[in-house]
Symmetry: C2
Subunit: 141 residues, 2 copies
Amino acid sequence: MNQHLHLITLGVEDFKKSRKFYTEILGWKASSASQDDVAFFQAGGVVLAIYPREKLAEDALTSPEGSGFAGITLAYNARSEAEVDEIIRDLKSKGVKIVKEPQKVFWGGYSSYFADPDDYHWEVAYNPFFAFDESGNLKLD
Amino acid sequence: MNQHLHLITLGVEDFKKSRKFYTEILGWKASSASQDDVAFFQAGGVVLAIYPREKLAEDALTSPEGSGFAGITLAYNARSEAEVDEIIRDLKSKGVKIVKEPQKVFWGGYSSYFADPDDYHWEVAYNPFFAFDESGNLKLD
């Protein structure tokens, strides 16, 4: 298996609410491959999908039961501390739950978190040690 | 916030065990940015990180408590059904837990799932409706 992660699916409780969050609050455009109960978002070099949680569990032959911290976080890497502040200020003005206000963190960066409708945690961070490629994806050695 | 997901972090119970899984079983190469308790993997156009679950929750100002289905799945998109079979056969021979044997699925593709040491679910699928760009990332309209 090559070193590649192509797509991440978030299992969501209320599909319409989540689709509205990603399309109207974050302002993302869904792919034409999206259907009534699945939405795909080209999110740089990876695709983010949302799909009803019960159906996702069924697809993975797994019980949908689960609670508390998902254990997985998603991150958007900004180009500066100011961009982090701007994004969080904008999301807050739209009523998004800010979990961690932007702040300097121990590893030398600047980080914040917001929550999506299923309480999945998105970090919005500036990491001065990370570089981007020409497509805007992170590029690590 | 631009339409971009840069990095995904898996909160893991046993960091050394997970690092060994990703580096030795999957055969992935960790980035030089990795440290004693965090490993970064350039996984195509996105970075996959592993980090102790308790520290990840602490970073997100969240309780680490959580159980059952994480609600999020990761996917590797293969180029053919045969590649799916080959990957799963290889992982199975290495003792990896296969959650769903490769099979044709209702949406017209061919799909399987394996589990990593924290029971995070990885789908290995062939989707005849998805295209790739020149970097091997999915490219949706």
